[in-house]
Amino acid sequence: MLKLKIDGSDVEIAKGATILAAAEKIGIPIPTLCFLKKVSPTGACRMCVVEIEGADKPMTACNTPAVDGMVVTTQSEKLRKIRQQVMQLLLVNHPLDCPVCDAGGECDLQNSCYSLAVTHQRFEGENLNHAEMNDWPLIQQIPSRCILCEKCVKVCHEVVGASALAVHARGEAAYIDTVDGRPLNCEFCGNCVAVCPTGTLNSKPFKFKARPWALRKTPSVCTLCACQCQIDINSHGNEIYRITSDDAGTTNQGTLCIGGFFSYGFVNHAQRLTSPQIAQQNCDWDQAFARITTEIEAIRASSGSQALAGLSSPRLTNEENYLFQKMFRVAMGSNNIDSEARFGALRAMQATSAVLGLRGASHLLSAIGNSEAVLVFGADPTAEAPAVDWQVQDACRRRDAKLVVAGMHPIKLSKFANVALVCKPGTELELANGISRLLYERNLLQTDYLNQALANPAELKVHLDAINIDKVCAETGVERRLLEEVADILGAASSVSIIFGAEITKSVRGYEKSVAIADLAILCGALRNNSAGGLFPLDEKGNTQGLLDMGVCPEYLPGYQPYAQARESFAQAWKAKLPETGLDAMGILAGIEAGTIRFLYLAATNPLTFPNAKRWRKALEKVEVLVVQDILPTEVVNLATVVLPGASWAEKGGSVTSMDHRIRSLSRAIASPGTALEDWEILATLYGRLRKQAVSISRADILAEVSSLSQLYDKVNFAGDDRHRPCLKAPYRPLAKSFHYQTPQIDEIQTGLQLVCGKSPYHFGTTTTWAAGPLEIESQGLVRMHPLDASQVGVGEGERVKLTSSKGSVTAVLTLDDSLPAGLLFAPYHFANLEVQTLVEDGSNRVGVTLAKV
């Protein structure tokens, strides 16, 4: 610790801290304009100048490290004069368009000018302000308002890693533009807009819509992905005008992605469902509930409860998912409940649970940032979990960690990787095994640790001995020297984070591949350290963790209590008779096809985005009674017998659970349109009607019930509702000898052109295809392919191609992408008009296709 004196007060601070940090620690305010805590100091504005004893010149507090014995003065006539003159200079050629400036009312320049009482201008200079940039999507840049603080440049480069902005030209003519001067083409995360202290970078969707002071800020959580960043919903009346996030006090440090910043448009979409419907005709709630209860009772009477089924959604809250499963199991007597997690997240969870006793991520996201090595395997964190992307960058760009990216195609993070491995599609298990073998071969295993952690250390050696590296290299197409480097990186690091995602978990052998990755996590000690490293399965959907925690699948009751074993105790607690078994999503699908499932309840989910979507479409068309609870008129709404309009995330309360097991609370910022109800109210009402018993819809009551039934949430305790601090589930602490090393075998070699369906970085499920923001960036689904593959069939950028698989054909517009390996096509699954999910087989994300010119 260092001791220094600031304005006569003593302060102690850690070595390396700046004068500004030291002053902040004892509450001495030093004016700043360009300072942004989450990026490296810039020292541009010179507002934070202070006097230091022994120095003739004023020095900036933001980037001068404190030194033992320093004596600092932050306020003096000299400093005030400097600050005033700097302010006068800043205002040379600054337009006086404050009344129509987007930052009016929340402008740092205005505020500084005011607090320094700068009332006149004595300097003048030629006006060299660059013209406005109005041709960028979503964002407008008005250089005349810019004070060149570089916050936008730095947040883009250092935090987001998009590196889209740069300072151009010299002297007074200097301005900020895209690196190449062409219209902005980036991740459109909006962080540049968020950090801009003036009205230079503006959100076009927000421009001229509302004055900041007229907006009400409601603290909430972004539920578009499982990172669950903490946000403030800025609304007026019943409309969301923008989303903001505070740097201080949020787990995401104020950083958002396109989902958080620009994708709220679907909430106030003109086509929101506003009224319940029966047979596609508006009705009132009473009629809708009556129709559903009548149908259920009739089917139960004729075919029994096993003819009822439901699919729930990671878009719904913990409480809603809890009510959903309870409604089915207790009030309908059916355990035929499942969700889209069946096709990804649940596979990963079953694998990590079998090997490690782990369900979800092993550690907090910050443990990624703290680790010494990171392996991103078959995942694209930028698309699937942007806050994970930022953590990976924090580790490898700011904290000296090594990064390995492995998968069937390069991703954005590949550019930061020490080693980027591109393997042949479907060979991820071999690749994982190869790395495991080399860790062993190169003496990089911590034998003592493994003997202590593994229940079956003997099997490990047998398995590793059997792996042939030459065969691995041949099958995966990865060079041995690169594999060795990867093993050395993972073996040398004292803490390793392994992140795996959709291209592992959503592949047809996702379970086995996840097992191999869990094995690898054991071998490189990823689970050894409590604050750094860990295993992080990604699932793109917002509340998948909560959905599974609440037991929305036939095999588990809440808290992962095996259904068969825990059925009796739950039956007692719920004072009900529970069905003996249940069907999962594929069983439900087969049941509909066989006519044994006659009633299907879709709670905020759209099976037309599931693999083999055509089969699902036929089933939805066939099922006798289809109840759809949703917020937008999706294609499944059009097929529904009864439509129940629900609430968006901004219109309801309740809690959600992030991928790293933080539980956060939503807040109702606006009212739902028309007569739409909060989803838990719908579920509770229906439960009440079926069971003739009222159900509470209070977060506290439901979570109390959950914790009384399961240990998983028994530590959960919301400290207060105002700031919605996240609380944590019980942390993962593996016991000695609890790891079960497994050796899955699969044979998944495929030849020919492969199509992978996955997530776009600009869209989230299907809801954002109703949001103007992301649509401005990606308005339709395009099939990406390497120019070589396109030239083989004689098609070029923007042309239409026909893709044919064993399941059918679709035509699509293509876009060339030479970052993809030749032979691999990528298509986003979000768009109703690009039915790529009809091409893949059940439970798969990849299929062999042929291409033809249209």
């Binding site: 390396g16 490296s40 100091p41 810039t42 020292g43 541009a44 504005c45 010179r46 100048v49 230091i52 004893e53 022994g54 120095a55 003739d56 010149k57 004023p58 020095m59 900036t60 980037n63 001068t64 490290p65 030194v67 033992d68 014995g69 320093m70 400097i82 003159q85 700097v86 200079l89 800043l90 040379v92 004595r122 300097f123 003048e124 200079g125 030629e126 060299l128 004070i147 060149l148 570089e150 730095k154 480069h157 250092e158 300072v167 030209a169 010299r170 002297g171 007074e172 003519a173 200097a174 760009r397 700011r398 904290r399 000296d400 930061f416 990787a417 020490n418 080693v419 980027a420």
Partner: protein, 651 residues
């Protein structure tokens, strides 16, 4: 004889406007009096004042033009006082010059002069120094303009140059503040590109450069110099450790053919810049691998050769053809090269060891090495040389240090360095000497060999005489004198003289090329063009300078390439403004070790992690490990970004 009319250079006011003019030479200001073939230098204006050599110079126009260039060409715009303040200054001076000056204007200049003290770097801050000098000392000229007494535009031509003390001191003139700032901004690729504009072998010069820049670092006047050399290694290692491909692309082919003799630092550098300009370049190299002295003269524990190979691969990737095992004078003659190529660059190094001048060294005794450089090469190239148990190395330079450290790694139990002065006078870098000591090298200071002691044609010891230090000589080092009768024998199995190398220019002996040589048998080139007396034949590196440093070789190789490009495309071997101003400022000296910086220091420089002494002495694994990037960023934060602009008025 140039005369000084007024000077404020170095903050010393010399005003001869009323009295007799003083000779420029009397002021110890090393400013040339003419510039290229453009005429006489009439004035110099820069960070540390103004020098007027002509009464007719329009000081208002000079100040206005200087500030205009600072603002429009060089100010980065990244701090408020600099960006805005120099613009206000530029416009104010222009207004005065146009006859529209206001009484308030000089006060504004004065106030901004003070405000610019709080600039982010010294570029704008220092630019106001000469302007204030002129305002203070030439008030009549300024007020005359304000009264509308406008002078006609003079016939003077202005030429400017951005520099920094470190950049100036670096023989390759790398834009050091820029690459350091890029590191600070987490832009390692950009940093490397910036380095490569002047230095194509950053992995080498990030490791084994003697970094003269650091002795011209202004941060050193505050606390400790920036670790400039190590910060160069960081982006080079970043590219390598991320498997990134360098981004450089050569320009369109010119159709000109150039041969470069020697794939050492000078040759690789020259080839690199010529290839980028689109010339077809071939390198011939006598050894079987690239790097010259760096490869076979610097051991792998300091400079891993696979990285040297990578640097050569980068050069080769630009289309440069490197032929190994081809020696000029043996396999090819200079005449043949001249006939086949449009230009020739000689970068043949200095591979001939200097004799010690002791009895018996020319007898070919077993155990007597031909020289340090030979010993290092034999080990590097695995020529089967066996190092015995007791080795004596004679000399005090880096090569001597390399020899004693290599001898330890080659199995010597006693590795002894004999040097005729003390540790303090050793020309080797002090940290190399410390490293050697940590590894277990023994030192015999103030000893000079007088005779080899042999048995049956084999060295068994060296007779040495004890030395005493006398008065400092011309070089400032105290010259040693032998103490008569103090001779004694140090037993040993091997003696390696490492007291310096000379170029071997025997390839010039097969014909009269008209190429002049110095008495140290190095090649003479002219006026910074690196061209020899034979038109189209250029030379650089150790064969031109005498055994010197890697970075000098790089600087010369680059300069040669620039001039050769002009020679090939314009038919003239000449300097351009950048070269000429580089030399002019270098002569003037940019670093002032007496400067009072006025900042609070107290920060230590960051150091690379190192393998412990005894552990490393048995292996060739690189001793210095990479500086973690987070530490590099912290170190880069210490940089004061000491940019400054100098401008001459010529006519």
């Amino acid at each position: 004889m140039a005369e000084v009319i007024f000077s404020s250079w170095g903050r010393e006011i010399v005003d001869n406007r009323k009295g007799e003019a003083q000779a420029l030479s009397a002021l110890q200001i090393k400013l040339p009096t003419s510039y290229l073939d453009r005429g006489e230098i009439r004035a110099f204006i820069g960070w540390d004042g103004v020098i007027l050599l002509d009464r007719q110079v329009d000081v208002v126009a000079l100040a206005a033009e200087y500030m205009k260039r600072v603002q429009e060409k060089y100010c980065c715009g990244k701090c408020t006082p600099g960006k805005k303040g120099t613009r206000v200054l530029q416009d104010t001076l222009a207004r005065i010059q146009a006859g529209h000056g206001q009484p308030e204007d000089l006060k504004i200049i004065e106030d901004l002069g003070q405000l610019l003290e709080s600039c982010k770097c010294t570029l704008c801050m220092s630019s106001v120094v000469p302007v204030l000098d002129l305002v203070h000392h030439f008030p009549d000229e300024f007020s005359a303009y304000s009264r509308g007494e406008i002078k006609p535009m003079g016939a003077l031509r202005y030429t400017d140059k951005l520099t920094a003390p470190c950049t100036d001191r670096c023989p390759a003139h790398i834009d050091i503040p820029a690459y350091v700032e890029d590191i600070k901004d987490y832009r390692f690729d950009e940093s490397l590109s910036r380095i490569r504009r002047n230095m194509p072998i950053p992995a080498v010069c990030g490791r084994v450069c003697p970094h003269p820049c650091e002795s011209a670092c202004r941060r050193g006047l505050v606390d400790e110099p920036i670790s400039i050399m190590v910060l160069k290694r960081v982006p080079a290692d970043h590219e390598w450790m991320h498997h990134k491909q360098p981004p450089m692309q050569p320009k369109a082919a010119t159709g000109k053919k150039v041969v470069v003799v020697g794939a050492g630092p000078a040759g690789l550098t020259c080839a690199y810049y010529l290839a980028l300009e689109g010339h077809q370049v071939k390198i011939i190299e006598m050894l079987s691998e690239p790097g010259g002295t760096v490869a076979v003269g610097i051991p792998d524990y300091r400079m891993p050769r696979h990285l040297l190979q990578r640097e050569a691969d980068v050069v080769a990737a630009l289309g440069v053809d490197i032929a190994y095992g081809v020696k000029l004078g043996r396999d090819l003659s200079l005449r043949e090269l001249k006939a086949e190529y449009d230009a020739v660059f000689l970068g043949t190094g200095a591979f001939k060891s200097k004799p010690m001048g002791v009895e018996g060294e020319d007898q070919g005794y077993e155990g007597f090495s031909a020289g340090g450089i030979h010993y290092l090469r034999a080990v590097a190239l695995n020529e089967g040389l066996v190092t015995p148990k007791r080795v004596i190395v004679v000399g005090g330079g880096n090569t001597a240090i390399d020899c004693v450290r290599v001898a330890l790694r080659e199995g010597a139990e006693d590795s002894i360095l004999v040097y005729r002065r003390t540790r303090k006078e050793m020309p080797a870098e002090y940290y190399e000497v410390d490293d050697a000591e940590e590894e277990g090298v023994q030192f015999e200071f103030l000893r000079n060999p007088t005779r080899l002691v042999t048995e049956n044609g084999k060295v068994v010891g060296v007779e040495v005489v004890v030395m005493e230090l006398g008065e400092p000589d011309a070089s400032g080092r105290r010259s040693p004198k032998a103490v008569p009768g103090s001779e004694y024998v140090i037993p040993c199995d091997m003696v390696i003289p490492a007291i310096g190398q000379d170029p071997d220019l025997s390839y010039l002996e097969d014909g009269d090329y008209g190429i002049q040589k110095t008495r140290w048998s190095s090649i003479v080139t002219h006026d910074g063009t690196m061209m020899t007396d034979n038109a189209g034949v250029f030379a650089g590196g150790d064969c031109e300078y005498g055994a010197m440093t890697v970075v000098v070789a790089v600087g010369q190789g680059r300069r040669a390439a620039r001039v050769m490009h002009r020679y090939l495309t314009e038919g003239k071997a000449c300097l351009d403004d950048e070269d000429a101003m580089e030399d002019l400022l270098n002569n003037l000296q940019v670093f002032n070790k007496k400067e009072q910086i006025g900042l609070f220091g107290g920060l230590h420089r960051e150091h690379q992690p190192k393998i412990a002494g005894r552990e490393r002495a048995s292996s060739y694994v690189e001793v210095e490990k990479a500086l973690p990037e987070s530490q590099a960023v912290r170190e880069a934060e210490r940089c004061l970004r000491c940019y400054r602009v100098g401008m001459i008025a010529v006519g």
